[in-house]
């Protein structure tokens, strides 16, 4: 996939997948403890998710962070909406609100 990390391309990714994880590395080879924690939380959640390795291109981090207006990685999107980083995804996994938000689907 040839990515230019434009807002349109990034939006298309989160539009297409119910769960998206922008992370450093891959779920099998995470390059950051926070990204690993987020990937593990989503694996535990059990629904399929799209993982985007933002270390694959040096343009990725500044582009994603500017588009989302969120300064850190990883970033997790549920039904097209940014929920936050690894601390929030874990909190929402544990308190059940991740499941709720996933089940509710997209707001029109």
């Amino acid at each position: 996939m040839k990515m230019n990390w434009t807002p349109e391309e990034l939006q298309a990714i989160v539009d297409e997948h119910a769960l998206v994880l922008f992370m450093k590395g891959t779920p099998n080879e995470p390059q950051c403890g926070f990204s690993n924690r987020a990937a593990q939380a989503l694996q535990q959640f059990g629904e399929p998710f799209a993982a985007v390795n933002i270390l694959s291109d040096q343009r990725a981090i500044p582009s994603v962070c500017a588009w989302s207006d969120f300064p850190t990685m990883p970033q997790i999107y549920v039904q097209g909406e940014l929920i936050g980083g690894s601390d929030i995804v874990l909190e929402m996994l544990q308190d059940g609100s991740l499941q709720e938000m996933f089940d509710e689907g997209r707001s029109a």
Partner: protein, 105 residues
Amino acid sequence: MVATEWIEAEVLKAVPDAHVEAIDLHRSGDHFHVRVIAESFDGMRPLQRQRLVLAVMKQHIPHPIHALDLKCMTPAQAETAGDTAFDPHGGGQGVHIRRIEKNKE
């Protein structure tokens, strides 16, 4: 490299009514676990809470702050929260944190 006191003062600019506890995870002055406890978080989603704090903090990321693990809680949530902070370089192990407020008691 920055001090936990500096982090706490910066967070207070964003959430003046907060009780802030910053923990320097590696004593390296760049990886922090920060607990922000405020009544005003009540009724806000986790991301909204973090956005308030990040509005002030994001200018300091990735330098001098490399990693910022934020936990934004209401006082009621803080009552039941554990004492373990996540360490991104700890091999998946948590770090037991010294709770400043508890130690005062």
